[in-house]
Subunit: 154 residues, 2 copies
């Protein structure tokens, strides 16, 4: 199980693609983001771009799923203190296939706890044309190997 | 329909509460964040805190839903360029009821388009004890009234 010491700045993880259907877009929107542009593209007159568009938060959720499957699984991840930034860069439409490219951008030990460290990453979702549609920077918490070994949790 | 000119810095919107059940937590996790701490609290040994915990992203999604229902609906919202920050502040567990408090923190016209403006807000989700569990800052795009009237979209 990977601990804080097992990661390096510059490590790249690629995952996907995941297909986004109209049904996916509308189901997510109905639950969490029921704006007309995400529910029924034909009804929308006032959006920046027309047609049925995936919620930006839906794209973040799809990125999270790829992140868990391709990166967090089989690590000692202990959660996250938060997200530094999310940028919505291009529309996501029904039929788009999105692939993730993640890069580890920072590693720092906790100042207050000897047993954990923080990993910062930037993750981008790109459509089949290679156009980035969403980019986010966030932080994950990992156990430090020595501390984990000492307490028998790794 | 509210346009950019209709908002003021300092405007506060409160919404909710929304109950979070164990089924909600597990269903969200199964789809978007299948980490053990969100799927089966009993299995978790290595989290910062023990037990079944809602995914932080789930809490962001619940905030989004309250935001749409209580604030974005009946406005001319044209989407969002992104999220400035998300902080996960305290665990969310099955049975928690979360209420939203949003405050408009900034308004600025677009430098490149005369017909839109940007509204920045900070939104906090609090549990029944009043403890903040998540705080986010994000931006929304609204039409400017003069431009909207000129093009007949408001």
């Amino acid at each position: 199980m990977r601990c804080y010491e097992d990661f390096s700045v510059g490590e790249v993880v690629e995952a996907g693609p995941v297909l986004v259907t109209a049904e996916d877009i509308k189901a997510f929107a109905a639950q969490f983001d029921p704006q007309p542009m995400h529910l029924d593209g034909a009804a929308v007159q006032n959006a920046i771009v027309g047609g049925l568009l995936a919620s930006g938060l839906h794209v973040v959720c799809l990125n999270m799923r790829l992140l868990v499957d391709a990166f967090i699984r089989d690590t000692g991840s202990m959660g996250s203190p938060g997200v530094e930034e999310v940028r919505y860069l291009a529309p996501v439409r029904a039929g788009d296939s999105l692939a993730m490219r993640l890069e580890v951008t920072g590693l720092r030990p906790s100042a207050s706890r000897a047993d954990i460290g923080f990993l910062k990453f930037t993750s981008e979702m790109r459509n089949a044309s290679g156009t980035p549609v969403m980019r986010m920077t966030a932080t994950l918490i990992f156990p430090r190997r020595d501390a984990a070994a000492a307490t028998g949790t790794a």
